[in-house]
């Protein structure tokens, strides 16, 4: 297929749009409030003058409603999004976000519910938390669930703190002080070591083998030192490979007195097929905004539930949402309760109950798919990735032979001989109408391109993607300049990020102030 046959994109109108502050005109407003309907007091009598602002909110925009609508609508057209097409960002699971889930989250009975409402008057809301906990326990095979963490990294921190609290309780403060090492494979997300550090652990890195799996010999050697609190493992790992020795890995860590935390970023490869709890994992976090399709929102909100073994359950964050033993208590007691009575808990990790709106959406996802649908989604996600792995193998270097799960990693090894690198390939892919894959991650693969198509892509678009990637591989040979200068179709070219970091401009300032300082 010649590149001209790839007809996914055409050019269309793109408006320029200034910053809102540059659009502002004195006296414009875009809101209307009802008149004040209570007896008015001089404002200085309510709030003493010295506690009041004296800048008259200078610099804040003054715009009309239609100004605001056009402003954001124009800016929105500069974004690529899942709804526009395939968004194969590896490790991010950019799947379709159902509009039904959005509707559910906006039902007034949830949207208008205050988090400090009496639990008896929020039974529906608590039931949703309870049911989602129940389903996630079944999906992971780990019975203790807290939905409080707000994102993946937050769930990691929570999981690692649970390990720390468990070991402190098991060994006693004195002995556990000698067990402060967290093991993390060299292929892991950067959030893993950062989360371990927050929990007071020092990090030791476990090597990967040439096959792309955890090096068992290295793991055994480090575990023999006696200071290992745990292992943070992503499975399938960030190379898209299932750690087939997972049981042995867990055994080695357990024998050394440590616990196994699994980063659930890649659960989209496992739902309905295999369960971390059955593998020997002690605690996991999930990303509801990946596996369970809550929208990514341009960078959040997420929701990063923690699921643990029964043994670790007492250490989960408080409050927990529990169901009363007796279904209906005659004294008017609530069926679903907010329970603070977990003295061994690591504490609270977020105000209120977590990102509740995401829980509604995730529960709707689970109910819409049904148990068979959840497994089918996993199958489709893995099949799509495997298809790409197969179709691109003759054009791009695949650093590992093992069959990929839901995502596959390639490198720029062949193209780099012509001076075309991963970044260039990614930028050229934009011209073909696709969001690029994740690039330069995992760090252990030079020039990595991590491709995760998800289940939300059909055969036709997969073929378009493959054709685009093949076309770029050809261009890298025939016309490398074309690739090196990509993208050619966007409203803006490659931005000088180095200059932006050297002299950072992180906010707008009025002209005179900007030039003055």
């Amino acid at each position: 297929m010649r590149s001209t046959d790839i007809t996914k994109v055409t050019s269309h109108i793109s408006h320029n749009e200034a910053l809102i502050f540059e659009r502002s005109q004195t006296g414009r407003i875009g809101y209307r409030l009802p008149p004040l309907d209570v007896d008015e007091t001089a404002i200085d009598e309510i709030v003493p003058k010295k506690f009041q602002r004296d800048d008259d909110l200078e610099g804040l925009p003054e715009v009309s409603e239609v100004d605001v609508i056009r402003h954001f609508t124009r800016m929105s057209t500069w974004n690529y999004s899942i709804d526009l097409g395939m968004y194969p960002l590896g490790s991010c699971t950019m799947k379709y976000n159902s509009r039904l889930n959005e509707k559910v989250a906006r039902i007034p009975g949830f949207a208008n519910l205050h988090p400090l409402a009496d639990e008896k008057e929020a039974q529906g809301a608590l039931q949703i938390i309870y049911e989602l906990q129940h389903h996630l326990a079944e999906i992971t095979g780990l019975p203790g669930v807290s939905l409080q963490p707000a994102a993946g990294a937050h769930g990691e921190m929570t999981g690692v703190m649970i390990i720390r609290a468990y070991i402190d309780a098991r060994d006693g403060e004195g002995a556990s002080a000698n067990r402060r090492t967290m093991l993390i494979p060299d292929s892991a997300h950067g959030t893993n070591p950062a989360s371990a550090h927050l929990s007071g652990f020092s990090v030791k890195t476990i090597r990967s083998t040439a096959e792309g799996l955890t090096d068992l010999a290295h793991l055994r050697e480090i575990c023999s030192h006696g200071d290992v609190a745990g292992l943070m493992l992503t499975n399938p790992n960030t190379l898209g490979l299932f750690e087939r020795n997972i049981q042995e890995i867990c055994q080695i860590v357990h024998d050394a007195g440590g616990l196994v935390y699994m980063d659930g970023a890649n659960m989209n490869a496992l739902v309905g097929v295999a369960r971390p709890g059955d593998m020997g994992v002690d605690v996991i976090h999930l990303n509801l905004h990946k596996t369970f399709s809550t929208p990514h929102g341009g960078g959040g909100p997420g929701c990063g539930p923690c699921c643990s073994t029964a043994e670790l359950e007492p250490f989960l964050p408080v409050p927990r949402i529990v169901k009363s033993e007796s279904d209906v208590s005659p004294g008017g007691g609530a069926t679903f309760r907010v329970d603070f009575n977990y003295p061994q808990s690591i504490g609270r990790v977020k105000a209120f109950f977590g990102n509740y709106g995401m829980m509604l959406r995730a529960l709707a996802y689970i109910q819409t798919h049904g148990n068979d649908g959840l497994r089918e989604a996993t199958e489709a996600a893995v099949l799509n990735s495997r298809y790409i792995a197969h179709e691109l193998a003759s054009d791009y270097e695949k650093p590992f032979d093992a069959p990929s799960m839901h995502e596959v990693v390639f490198t720029d090894k062949r193209q780099s001989r012509k001076g075309v690198h991963t970044l260039d390939i990614a930028k050229r892919l934009i011209d073909y109408g696709f969001h690029p894959m994740t690039i330069y991650f995992p760090l252990i693969v030079q020039g990595a391109m991590l491709i995760e198509p998800t289940e939300s892509v059909g055969h036709q678009e997969l073929d378009q993607f493959v054709a685009a990637m093949r076309a770029i591989a050809r261009e890298a040979v025939d016309d490398p300049e074309l690739v090196l200068n990509a993208p050619h179709s966007t409203r803006i070219g490659r931005l000088d990020e180095a200059a932006a970091a050297r002299k950072p401009v992180l906010r707008w300032k009025p002209k005179q102030a900007a030039s003055a300082g």
């Binding site: 909110l57 804040l60 994102a151 295999a274 959040g300 966007t490 906010r507």
Partner: protein
């Protein structure tokens, strides 16, 4: 497709998972529901949330404000809500420019120089501020005022428990509800003084005086704001001398949604920009000199610095930051002040009138914004529960939830959405119920 890649069945896709680890049964989760069934189920559960359906004077860190219709319209555009972190700036300029505007608005409102792209919420933003103060000052003691939202303090406790930070607490003055004028705990080991204003009881703190005390000890002043709407009227923490300002941005166009998702605001001084947690968006130019925006100063962040990063945060609250941006721009310079003044006026009216009811008084003398504590004639939890049952009003929060030694106190919040009729119904209800149980 299976055959094209040389496989025979879906099961073959999972050959790399040891057989004994593969599920041989279906998940024990519900069978698939149609849209009709699913919506009916959620509507049934929503109907079980009686508290969502009545006039409410609950605040305490989550506030009911009017949300202009266009906020939800704009955040529902799929170009925003189905995009991810703007890793590829050429096709993410919409998200990036929004964040740049968000950072600017947060700086303007808080009176600070630099703000990040958002944190999970106010409570985690406060915890991150405490960790940042330790990094900046290399000191390990943090002094927190007792009238900070109790759930925020719990989160701070969790975050710092393994960070070698000692947390000390200063009791609030029972007469004013504020921090005492002189804080003995501050010394040359103190990394930061942490204060919330308006504080948990709604009392406005003298931030400028506290800044001076903190700075005299060489410590930073961290100011937490749980009611961001107060920034429309009150002196900005930056103008009062704060070094780090964190806030819960939920008041800016975000529904209550049973506690989340909300959005944490985080701002500081220029000199600490490289110590800030989370993402930052900055201005950048392409070869043709066209202005755009990129994620910047990434060397602070976990994907590069790993365990030495300023925070582990990756995903933040992008879409909620967008909602807050749309809100702040729609209300604008005039609207933010107008709403804040309506809140203050209505709360002032309500507190004055409650204090006139026999048996009720205002235990704290400090000025307030839109929340205030009421001391009732009997058990506040019982009073409020009768008010809900008999008058269909959520009258506020019984302080005994967090302060068991204050059984008769409750916290009342009044905003621009509480009409005169609702307020008067609250006043009548309080008077009648107190009278009937006396």
């Amino acid at each position: 497709m299976l055959h094209q890649i040389g496989l025979h069945s879906a099961e073959d896709l999972f050959a790399s998972i040891p057989k004994e680890l593969r599920l041989t049964r279906a998940l024990d989760t519900p069978a698939a529901l149609s849209e009709i069934e699913l919506l009916a189920g959620f509507e049934r559960m929503a109907a079980n949330n009686a508290a969502s359906q009545r006039a409410s004077f609950l605040g305490a860190g989550a506030y009911s404000h009017y949300i202009p219709t266009i906020v939800d319209h704009i955040i529902s555009r799929s170009e925003f809500f189905t995009a991810y972190t703007p890793y590829q700036p050429e096709i993410s300029q919409g998200t990036l420019q929004v964040i740049f505007e968000f950072q600017t608005l947060v700086c303007q409102l808080t009176g600070m120089d630099v703000a990040n792209a958002s944190m999970y919420d106010g409570s985690t933003a406060l915890a991150e501020a405490v960790l940042m103060a330790e990094r900046v000052t290399k000191r390990s003691k943090v002094v927190a005022c007792g009238a900070i939202h109790p759930e925020y303090l719990e989160v701070v406790n969790t975050y710092v428990q393994h960070a070698g930070i000692e947390l000390q607490h200063v009791a609030f003055k029972p007469s004013s509800g504020q921090v005492p004028a002189s804080i003995a705990h501050l010394d040359d080991k103190t990394a930061a003084l942490v204060v919330q204003s308006p504080n948990f009881f709604g009392c406005i703190e003298d931030v400028a005086a506290l800044a001076e005390q903190a700075h005299n000890a060489g410590a930073l002043l961290i100011v937490a704001v749980t009611e961001a709407m107060s920034l429309g009227l009150l002196k900005s923490p930056g103008a009062a001398g704060a070094d780090i300002v964190v806030a819960e941005g939920q008041s800016f166009g975000v529904p209550l949604s049973y506690g989340g998702p909300y959005v944490g605001l985080f701002a500081t001084r220029d000199k600490y920009a490289r110590q800030i947690p989370g993402r930052l968006v900055g201005e950048a130019y392409d070869k043709q000199g066209r202005r755009g925006f990129v994620l910047t100063l990434a060397t602070r962040e976990q994907h590069i610095r790993r365990e030495k990063a300023t925070s582990n945060i990756c995903t933040n609250e992008g879409l909620i930051a967008l909602a807050a941006t749309v809100y702040m721009e729609t209300m604008g310079r005039r609207g933010l002040r107008d709403v804040a003044i309506q809140c203050a006026q209505k709360a002032s009216y309500t507190s004055r009138r409650i204090a006139e009811i026999e048996g009720f008084s205002l235990p704290f003398s400090a000025p307030t914004f839109n929340e205030f504590v009421v001391l009732g004639p009997g058990n506040a939890a019982e009073l409020l529960s009768r008010l809900a049952a008999e008058r269909d009003i959520n009258g506020g929060l019984a302080l005994s939830r967090y302060f068991p030694d204050r059984p008769n106190d409750f916290l009342v919040c009044v905003t621009e959405i509480n009409s005169r009729a609702e307020i008067d119904a609250l006043l009548d209800g309080l008077a009648d119920i107190a009278h009937s149980s006396a």
